[in-house]
């Protein structure tokens, strides 16, 4: 387990993190979401030892991270970072060795990952000569080349084209299948929803929602029901107790049910109008969950 426990960090009066905590199981893909400036990068930098937490710690397999265990983490910083004048393969070998691989092992790993990420013909080129997309691939290779036990990636998908997104997603899923816990931050919530087993939403220095996407959905109060009744007259559902009509368009109705409302009563009312072509719980997208979570906090604060 990778555990982030009660991280607190303040820069002067600005309390960036105020008790951030979540856990990532081995083989789990954890999507780390939050508005700009919410503290995602700071959280990851604390894990990598690049910033010091005022309180709290990050643990891997029960013990706080040390210099040695951090070397087993593959890290991709938000700002990226490669030696512009170094050749791709030399760079990867260097990073692999810094992460503790032997010389031969590092060479083999660099060969493997350049091959795997479609950089085989770019091995002997200087990084500065590569396109931005290819630099991004080298960056990913740098995070993966040491066969890390844990992956922490800050905005790994930003700046990638759809093909690049897919190949990066494949590579990450493969790492998860190896049993590696993967934490990545992203603004692309559709991507997070598609890839991640678990999500944490960070707002104003705290995790305001975390869990699997379905858990988050279940936790969402006031569930929505979409019912399509082509023959129904307008306002057919208004009479059912505990039901609020969110929208209604030629029989396509979205209803907000108060907790404890019987959905079967809604179905009965719908059937009473004639044909029912669609009756299902409407799953809020992660974007909606995110907006809800972030704004709830804003109201509470």
């Amino acid at each position: 387990m990778l555990e982030f426990d009660g991280l607190v960090k303040a820069y002067g009066d600005n309390r960036v993190l105020d008790g951030v905590g979540f856990t990532v199981a081995p083989g789990q893909m954890f999507g780390f979401c939050g508005s700009n400036g919410a503290g995602k990068t700071t959280t990851m930098r604390i894990a990598m030892g690049l910033a010091r937490a005022d309180a709290g710690q990050v643990r891997w397999q029960g013990t706080a991270l040390t210099e040695a265990t951090r070397r087993r983490i593959g890290y991709m910083p938000e700002e990226r970072g490669l030696y512009p004048k170094m050749k791709v393969v030399e760079q990867l070998v260097y990073f692999a060795r810094l992460h503790g691989l032997g010389s031969a092992e590092a060479k083999a790993a660099a060969e493997h990952w350049t091959e795997r990420l479609g950089l085989a013909d770019k091995r002997d080129q200087r990084v500065e000569k590569l396109s931005l997309g290819n630099q991004q691939r080298v960056q990913l290779a740098a995070a993966l080349v040491s066969r890390p036990d844990v992956l922490i990636l800050d905005e790994p998908f930003s700046g990638l084209d759809p093909v690049g997104v897919d190949s990066l997603a494949d590579a990450l899923l493969e790492q998860c299948h190896r049993g590696v816990p993967v934490v990545f931050s992203s603004h692309q919530l559709d991507l997070v929803e598609r890839l991640c087993d678990a999500v944490g939403i960070l707002a104003r220095g705290r995790i305001v929602a975390s869990g699997t996407v379905s858990e988050l959905r279940a936790a969402e109060a006031g569930r929505q029901l979409r019912v399509v009744v082509p023959d129904a007259p307008a306002g057919w559902a208004g009479a059912v107790p505990g039901v609020r009509v969110v929208s209604e368009q030629r029989g396509d109705t979205v209803l907000d049910l108060a907790p404890g409302t019987d959905d079967q009563a809604v179905l009965a009312a719908a059937l009473a109008t004639g044909r029912v072509t669609h009756f299902a719980w409407r799953e809020p997208t992660l974007v909606e969950l995110f907006r809800g979570a972030v704004s709830d906090r804003a109201v509470a604060a």
């Binding site: 930098r45 990598m48 690049l50 910033a51 951090r70």
Partner: protein, 390 residues
């Protein structure tokens, strides 16, 4: 992996990338060529004996001897050419075959023909030869048998001084090379630090090691390279100088060269640490100049003082500055070469420098750690100290 393992990896990368760097290759070749060129120049200018060709009309062996001997007294090798008559002599001078022509040397009205009056070297030789001949002839007529003057044996009271002068010259040369290498490798260190900052690769590096390991690896790696370059230059210089007979006193050269190399190690460590720390405060190569200037000025001052010290190694300025960290690596080798520095002084200067290095590495290491991850704009020294791994 041990802490030392990371340092070794960093040092290895610094060396392998720098060795293939065009700037480094070019500067190495230029320095070696300069050293070789300087020796060849010394050789040519030192062994240059001017020769003069003088034509003689109606000369005797005595005339020839007199010309050669009077040439010797002024350090000119005289070649004598026999010419048929005055017309031939004028022709030869006109054609430039001879520098001067001497006619009727033993007669009552000797004549010297030269192209123009500016070539008084050859004519002066001819003139003094004629004078000598005339004296000899007149003395001979008076029955005086002229004995050659006895050879003079020169007694040198302070043969060491000769060696000291050579040693000071060698030390001065060494200091020039040392100064160049300190600037060059200090720049390399600074550029490397900023490169890592501006490309943000430093964030990945620091997730695998501590700032001091990065700093140490960088300084050690480039330092070994600089040392290798200096030793190469020294070996080429010493072997070349001895082989070409540029210097005659090897005992004066070798210890001086060794001391220059040793002072390079101390000086480089000091300057590299200061340069690295200064460079860590900025995040763009363009800003590097402003933070490096104070340190570079210190180097320049050290260089100028060392030039002065070569002229007057016993001066107060030289004595005092040879203990100042940053200055002593440039000044002390000169004083040592001049035989002006007592053993205790050398030991004291080394200790002062070591202490300075310890302080710079300790405080500088904190600044470096604090500033390294601040990748926007310029970091103030105070902020960096406060923000260490903030």
């Amino acid at each position: 992996m041990s802490a030392f393992g990371q340092v070794k990896l960093v040092a290895g990368r610094e060396m392998s990338t720098r060795v293939r760097d065009k700037g480094f290759i070019v500067s190495s070749v230029v320095i070696v060529l300069l050293v070789l060129g300087l020796m060849v120049f010394q050789l040519v200018s030192g062994s240059q004996t001017s020769t003069s060709t003088i034509g003689v009309v109606g000369g005797t062996p005595q005339v020839e001897q007199a010309l050669v001997r009077s040439g010797e007294t002024v350090g000119v090798q005289v070649e004598v050419t026999e010419l048929a008559d005055e017309a031939a002599a004028r022709q030869a001078v006109d054609d430039g075959d001879v520098d001067a022509a001497l006619l009727g040397a033993t007669g009552d009205s000797p004549q010297v023909v030269v192209q123009d009056s500016s070539d008084d070297g050859a004519s002066a030789i001819a003139e003094s030869a004629v004078g000598a001949l005339s004296v000899a002839t007149q003395l001979g007529q008076q029955g005086v048998d002229l004995q050659p003057a006895p050879a003079i044996d020169f007694v040198v009271l302070d043969p060491e001084a000769d060696g000291d002068t050579t040693a000071v010259l060698v030390a001065l040369l060494g200091v020039v090379v040392l100064y160049g290498l300190l600037i060059l490798f200090g720049q390399f260190v600074a550029q490397g630090v900023v490169e890592e900052k501006s490309s943000r690769v430093v964030e990945i590096l620091l997730s695998t090691m501590r700032p001091w390991q990065l700093l140490t690896g960088k300084i050690v790696g480039l330092g070994l390279l600089g040392l290798a370059q200096l030793v190469t230059i020294a070996v080429i210089g010493v072997v070349g100088a001895l082989a070409l007979d540029v210097v005659s006193v090897p005992s004066a050269v070798v210890p001086t060269v060794v001391s220059v190399v040793a002072w390079f190690v101390l000086g480089y460590t000091f300057y590299a640490a200061v340069f690295a720390v200064a460079a860590s405060l900025v995040s763009r190569q363009e800003d590097l100049g402003s933070v490096l200037t104070p340190t570079t000025l210190l180097l320049v001052v050290g260089f100028i003082v060392s030039l002065q010290a070569a002229q007057d190694p016993g001066s107060t300025l030289a004595t005092v500055t040879s203990f100042v960290p940053g200055l002593s690596p440039l000044v002390m080798p000169v004083r040592m070469a001049a035989g002006e520095a007592a053993v205790w002084e050398i030991v004291a200067a080394v200790l002062v420098n070591l202490a300075a290095i310890a302080v710079v590495v300790r405080i500088g290491g904190r600044v470096y750690s604090g500033a390294l991850l601040r990748t926007s704009g310029k970091t103030k020294l105070r902020e960096a100290l406060a923000a260490e791994r903030g």
